[in-house]
């Protein structure tokens, strides 16, 4: 008979070291013979690169943090205060005066640049932690979901988030909380009471993704305030996941900052972890001619991905795709460059290896005029082919006391860069 008091023993054992790494990584099967298959087969198999997951220090840290947060939350459920809180939550549902007794468990923020793999890391960590699925108890009869993941609504709506939590719980354990809340036309306060009760009974760790949505929304503070109350009334651990802009939001006041102590990650540095990822991903080659990964290629990949894992994956995948389709069948800097130029054009401003493009100092002209001007310039350059063009322009600028940059822009294609 599974009792609430013994629930901690029902959790999968915490892993560490090599065992953890091995459990976290995902390496699809790869056979060298695939390179001899026809184009269609190789293109299909190429998508396996997206399934590769190489755990990093970030993944390990996230796993430990989430596991400990879950354990802390689970322990709270076995205390006498949890019983007291259940009765208080009922008062909240009945729109009576109530108070938080059980107190918060653990709340943390995991912030990181988009694409570095935090959602994937969290997903891998959750899959390990929730290895045994929903835990069923006999005394009291109940179900406990180790981790519930919800997305912060785009408009930071408190009601929507609360309903989403109920819906997710219903999905996992087959209950009717969402339906009952809708039927009862519950107010936000009632909903908060319900979600507190449901979380206390059924949820170990609540993960709220895309928390940066609170930054640009007028309801943002209200939503965070609600989450604070939820922590106090349910005793569960809450993990918020978002981009670095949410850090700025949480830093704006002490009570918010206190609730968001956690992990912050940037793009990877050029280090052993990065090289390891490149090694693993590069080994998944589906082009006919195999190439070794050299230091030069690794450096090139670093410069052209800005240390962001998702960019590395896109580069390697698209480079191979282009190589297979245009017949070059080689994964080298040339194919990588093609992928970078053709497939990642929109990201250039955010990656731009070694050079950072600055905004133009001259007035921004209309696009159509600019294109027309560019074409005229191109014609002019082709016609004159004068070596002393720049000298002539400099002399003209001195003579007329005009801005040399403007003059150059009128006659040539100019790009301003930071020094």
């Amino acid at each position: 008979m599974n009792k609430l008091a013994d629930i901690e023993s029902m959790l999968p054992k915490m892993k560490s070291g090599d065992e953890l790494i091995k459990s976290l990584e995902i390496k699809p099967d790869y056979n060298e013979s695939i390179r001899k298959e026809n184009m269609a087969v190789r293109l299909m198999k190429l998508s396996d690169i997206y399934n590769v997951y190489v755990p990093s220090r970030m993944t390990e840290e996230i796993y430990y943090k989430l596991y400990l947060a879950l354990v802390y939350s689970i322990r709270k459920k076995t205390t006498k205060k949890a019983v007291l809180q259940q009765n208080e939550n009922h008062k909240a549902i009945m729109a009576q005066e109530y108070r938080g007794i059980i107190g918060g468990a653990d709340s943390l923020l995991i912030a990181g640049t988009s694409g570095i793999g935090k959602s994937t890391a969290i997903s891998r960590a959750i899959s390990l932690i929730s290895d045994k699925g929903v835990m069923e108890l006999d005394v009291p009869y109940s179900f406990i979901i180790p981790c519930v993941v919800v997305q912060c609504p785009f408009d930071s709506s408190v009601k929507n988030l609360l309903l989403e939590v109920l819906r997710k719980v219903d999905e996992r354990i087959g209950s009717n909380y969402y339906q009952n809340a809708i039927r009862a036309r519950a107010t936000t306060d009632m909903l908060l009471g319900m979600v507190s009760q449901v979380s206390l009974n059924h949820v170990g760790l609540l993960i709220i993704d895309e928390i940066q949505n609170v930054v640009n929304s007028k309801n943002g503070r209200g939503l965070i305030g609600m989450l604070t109350q939820l922590i106090n009334d349910s005793g569960i651990s809450i993990c918020m996941v978002g981009t670095p802009e949410s850090v700025i939001f949480f830093e704006s006041s002490d009570y918010l900052a206190r609730r968001s102590l956690g992990l912050q990650y940037q793009a990877m540095a050029y280090n052993e972890d990065f090289c390891n990822i490149c090694n693993v991903l590069y080994s998944y080659q589906y082009v006919m001619h195999y190439t070794e990964l050299t230091e030069a290629i690794t450096e090139w990949i670093y410069e052209h991905s800005a240390g962001i894992v998702s960019n590395i994956v896109v580069l390697l995948h698209d480079a191979q795709e282009i190589a297979i389709m245009d017949g070059t069948e080689t994964l080298d800097i040339s194919s990588l460059n093609k992928a970078y130029k053709n497939r990642m054009a929109l990201l250039h401003d955010y990656i731009a290896p070694s050079i950072q493009k600055r905004k133009s100092t001259a007035t921004i002209r209309k696009k159509a005029d600019k294109i027309h001007e560019l074409e005229e310039k191109q014609d002019f350059i082709e016609e004159t082919e004068q070596e002393n063009l720049i000298a002539l322009l400099v002399a003209q600028a001195k003579q007329n006391s005009t801005d040399i940059v403007k003059l150059l822009q009128e006659n040539l294609i100019v790009m301003e860069v930071s020094v």
């Binding site: 008979m1 009765n87 009922h90 006999d138 005394v139 009869y141 209950s175 009632m190 009760q197």
Partner: protein
Amino acid sequence: MITYFSEVYPDELLYSQLARCYVKAGYPAYIYMAEDFFQDKKVRPDIEFINTLTPAALQIVTKEMPMREIILKHTMFPYYGRFIEKERRDRAYQTLIGMKGNYNNLLPKVKSCRDRFLRYCPLCVKADRDKFGETFWHRNHQITGINVCPIHRCYLKNSEVVISAKASPILHHAEGIIPQKDNVEMVGNGIECEVSKYVVAVFQLDLDMDSDVNIGEFLHSRIIGTKYCSARGKKRYMELLHKDFMSYYERLSENRITELWQLQKIFTNDRSNFVEVCLLAYFLKVQVDDLVNMKVPDVPLDEIFDAEIKRLHDKGLKYPEIAKRMGMSYDSVKTIGNGRYGIYQHRKENPQKGGVRAKDWTKLDDEYLPLVQKAIQRIENDESSMPKKVTIIGIERDVGLPEGSMKKMPKCREEIKNHSIPQEQLWAKKVVWAVRKIQSRGQTLNWKHIRDLTNMRNENFQTCKPYLEMYADNEMVDGIKELL
């Protein structure tokens, strides 16, 4: 689906457990809990016993312990059913386990002009909150006739929850009703506490469902050898018993036994109120274990007495000497010795006088059995009118017997019982009959026509579907099932 059900506390009422579940499971309103747990969501939750649960709720409620144990340990059944006769107790017990039938008619419920409320002991409440974090409704505190907590020796207090058939259908959980701070009134009266302790001790012990010893018989066997009973053990000195009983319980705040006839009825098994029996047993210094596991001597004392007189007489002693030895009067000893004792007292029939003659029920039972069988056949095979249930009252009317006659005719009763069918089966029979009637009239076969003939509700129609095959062929059954 039910996804939360709180664990039960020791000596907690099932009603209390359901109330705590309602509070803790996150239901936004009572009706949603009622839909999940009760067959009829509008039913008023039974405080002392159990309502008909949905199959899902039944499975969860009986997960930790079987229903029979729940009835014995978490309802007031031991209070009402301990001292009634075995047959009635068994029927009430089976009715409760099956959650069908009206157990209220089988159990001796006390009717009072005063409202009854759920009660609690302020000190037990404090102890519960310290131990569990919350309090609950204890069974011990709901024993009518006891006003004192046996553990803390303080008076029990009434809550605001009235135990009434007119109360609104809602579950009241103790933690929300009982205040955090409460006055405690200690009892100065020793007898009040002792009685309370005794009654609760009897209440808590396991109920012997197999015991067929009547309480009257048992208590009579316990007054034998005391001043309240004759030497032979046949005659009770009720006046003396009543006088001493009332004097003993003079300081008891609630003693419903005020008249002699009330005490007498306990001995004749016509009165089996739990607390009244316990009061009498306590007065007679019956141990708790003896009262719970009632035993009577295999051979009645009067037979032993009579046998002893005969033995002494056969040995050669004269009646005066025997009378002196036995502590009885000469006349009584002589009457017993001559074998005339009992003839005058126990004559069942006096043919010289008028009045109602006692009937030979065994003979009547045999005589009416074939008539009953024919009546049953007529009812079962009658296709001209809507099918009816085979009931005792119906058969009594059919064969011309007065109502209630079948109580003393076990063979006829058994025959009727063998032919009685569950309600769902009867509905199926009605539906098939209605379909045949509609077809014979040439009307369109639809649900409306069936309902007009049978006056059945949709939900009843749905529950009778599994039985349709017993009365119709597959083709007809498929056609009927498609209707709704």
